[in-house]
């Protein structure tokens, strides 16, 4: 079979047919428009949430391992981790001397305290005792002022660096640098404000903008060192494969903990990707549910198109007979009606995308940052054309099978 008659001619014929029944075409298209808007908005919202999450957890650093008592993400029995020993400060020091491929090691510990500036109080704020190495292992930087220095740590300075949300909620328009604030019962001087990370808190993840850094030494003298559980962030030296590094860290920790080869690890190695993975798992399910629900509206739109195509085929039985009489093959008739249904759906898709841009702009303004990406536009157009082919196929097939003599007799 030689190539089907020219695409431009087929497209022209489809447009002619749609134009001949404008109001019917618009109504039919409406179903597809709504379906595409629903699908595109769902994907855009999911994308927006995902980007926001990834942006905020990126502060953890993709080449940093976090040694902790418990894994960040786990399934199964919580109690298997409960009886593990706390990680201790001296274990961090031993790890520091033992590891050969570490660029930096940063022990941290944390507690929740009410914080206060003048008469304003914020409840249960995450206070993190850390070292100047935080700047090496984390990608976050101060927006104003400075971060903690080695000198602050060594001399147990009561200084703190606050997250952007703390600044906003506690200080408002007041410049917080060098102001004195209360962390629990202790007075600390603000020396820096961290850049905004964007909150991953909506997903139950950590909120990096709602925390306060203090020197780990001052932390322990203020809030006590007894029974504290530490986290140890270790960053691999440049060029070291993270998996190899993880192996080294595990080995070193087992040595420090004096574990026998038969014993299981009594500590956990965490990294950013675990959070991303957990997010993707949960979000993946939500997105699939969302797409199924919105897909139903697209499906209903598709049925509307199918219905109209059946009407169209019946109305034009005689025309099909004429076309066959002058030499249209089955494939030509099939393609003609498929072009018509695809064009209806493509027009619906284009309008749907235009409308989605409007809705996304609104979401962007009112709810959260969201943008329609080019792949989403491409997928939406593809889906609308596929909907057209899907809903046009049975009517088109029926048309292509018509017997020319009977079709010509049809009135």
């Amino acid at each position: 079979m030689r190539k089907f008659y020219s695409t431009t001619a087929a497209f022209r014929i489809a447009l002619e047919a749609i134009r001949a029944n404008k109001s019917r075409g618009i109504l039919t298209t409406l179903g597809i428009v709504i379906g595409i808007v629903a699908v595109v908005t769902t994907m855009t919202a999911a994308n927006g949430l995902g980007n926001r999450f990834k942006e905020s957890v990126s502060a953890l650093g993709s080449d940093v391992l976090y040694v902790s008592r418990r894994p960040w993400v786990f399934s199964g029995n919580f109690f298997q981790f409960r009886n593990r020993q706390n990680l201790q400060m001296r274990e961090a020091q031993k790890l520091n001397t033992g590891l050969k491929n570490a660029l930096a090691i940063n022990p941290t510990t944390n507690t929740n305290k009410n914080v206060k500036y003048l008469s304003k109080t914020l409840e249960a704020i995450n206070i993190i005792g850390t070292t100047e190495k935080h700047m090496v292992v984390s990608s976050s930087v101060p927006e104003s002022g400075r971060f903690l220095t080695g000198f602050d740590i060594q001399s147990k300075k009561r200084v703190c660096v606050i997250g952007s949300e703390i600044k906003e909620n506690l200080f408002g328009d007041i410049e917080p640098i060098n102001k004195k604030m209360k962390l629990g019962r202790y007075t600390y001087r603000v020396v820096g404000v961290m850049e905004e990370q964007g909150s991953a808190g909506f997903f139950g993840g950590p909120n990096f903008d709602r925390q306060i850094f203090v020197p780990i030494t001052s932390f322990m003298s203020s809030f006590g060192s007894h029974n504290r559980d530490f986290n140890i962030a270790v960053k691999a030296a440049p060029g070291v494969v993270l998996a190899d590094f993880e192996y080294e860290v595990i080995g070193e920790m087992r040595k420090i903990r004096k574990l026998k080869p038969t014993e299981e690890d009594d500590f956990s190695i965490n990294q950013m990707n675990q959070l991303v993975g957990a997010y993707n798992n949960v979000m993946g399910v939500i997105v699939i549910i969302g797409l199924v629900i919105t897909g139903i509206s697209l499906f209903v739109g598709g049925i509307g198109v199918m219905n109209i195509m059946f009407v169209s085929v019946t109305e034009r039985t005689k025309e099909i007979g004429v076309r066959k009489a002058i030499g249209a093959k089955r494939k030509s008739i099939l393609t003609q009606f498929l072009f018509e249904s695809s064009t209806i759906c493509l027009i619906g898709g284009v309008f749907g995308i235009v409308l989605s841009f409007g809705i996304t702009a609104l979401i962007n303004k009112l709810v959260m940052p969201a943008t329609i990406s080019l792949p989403i536009v491409f997928v939406a157009l593809l889906v609308s054309v596929l909907t057209g082919i899907f809903s046009g196929f049975i009517p088109a097939f029926k048309a292509s099978k018509l017997n020319p003599t009977e079709a010509l007799r049809y009135e």
């Binding site: 030689r2 008659y5 005689k318 004429v322 066959k324 002058i326 030499g327 093959k329 003599t405």
Partner: protein, 237 residues
């Protein structure tokens, strides 16, 4: 030889009854003949037309159109033969209402996979032959009945078919316009085309040179018209 049918019969099943629309009919038509097929309704006229026009295939018998045996072709092969060798002119014009004159006439060339540049030349030529060049971009509903039938004729001859079938071409036209249309068909015959006319009007049939009269699925008579006799006399003298 334009076409040659041998011992053709056609049976239909209508409910539980079998209808023999054509019973063992044989017929030859030469190139550049002008033939009218006549007969009362139920005579097998339409069936004959459908089979000769390759819209349908006979139950038994063979049909050679030029050098091709079309009696056992499938739907798509028949469509291809119709596209290359046959032009149809219908009583009700059967134009595509949404397409203008040019695109109606062009349609057989599109189905014949002719390249666009060549399509344009051939379409313009066919429209010119029926004298509608100034109406090429009008829609059918902007044309008179006679003009619509001329568009249909242009569409029938655009791909230079071996045979032009005209099924009651004047049935929906007043007598003046009907004569005008018959004038065009006569002209096409003089230009060398083979024309088969299906009609029940004696006056229209007289334009042809040979009249085949069908009755009850059989050829009752096959006669040369006075007009043909006159033409032959001119040739002989």
């Amino acid at each position: 030889m334009a076409l040659n049918i041998q011992n053709i019969s056609k049976k239909y099943v209508m409910g539980i009854e079998e209808v023999h629309a054509l019973k063992d009919v044989s017929l030859k038509i030469d190139n550049n003949e002008y033939v009218a097929i006549m007969g009362p309704s139920g005579s097998g006229k339409s069936t004959m037309m459908n089979i000769l026009g390759c819209l349908d295939i006979p139950t038994t018998g063979t049909y050679h159109l030029e050098d091709e045996d079309v009696s056992e072709m499938d739907d798509d092969q028949l469509a291809d033969v119709r596209n290359r060798k046959i032009g149809f002119v219908f009583q009700t014009f059967n134009l595509i209402p949404r397409a203008d004159v040019f695109h109606n006439v062009e349609l057989p060339l599109i189905y014949g996979n002719i390249v666009p540049q060549k399509r344009k030349v051939m379409t313009d030529e066919a429209i010119e032959k029926v004298g509608l060049t100034d109406r090429a971009h009008h829609k059918p509903n902007e044309l008179s009945g006679g003009q619509r039938q001329r568009v249909a004729i242009a569409r029938a001859l655009v791909n230079n078919p071996a045979i032009i079938f005209a099924d009651e071409p004047t049935g929906n036209l007043d007598s003046v316009t009907g004569r005008e249309i018959m004038g065009i068909l006569d002209g096409l015959h003089r230009a060398g085309n083979t024309i088969i006319l299906v009609t029940h009007e004696k006056e229209i049939a007289e334009h042809a040179h040979r009249i085949i009269w069908l009755r009850d699925g059989l050829i009752e008579s096959d006669t040369v018209t006075q007009r043909a006799a006159a033409t032959m006399e001119i040739v002989n003298n």
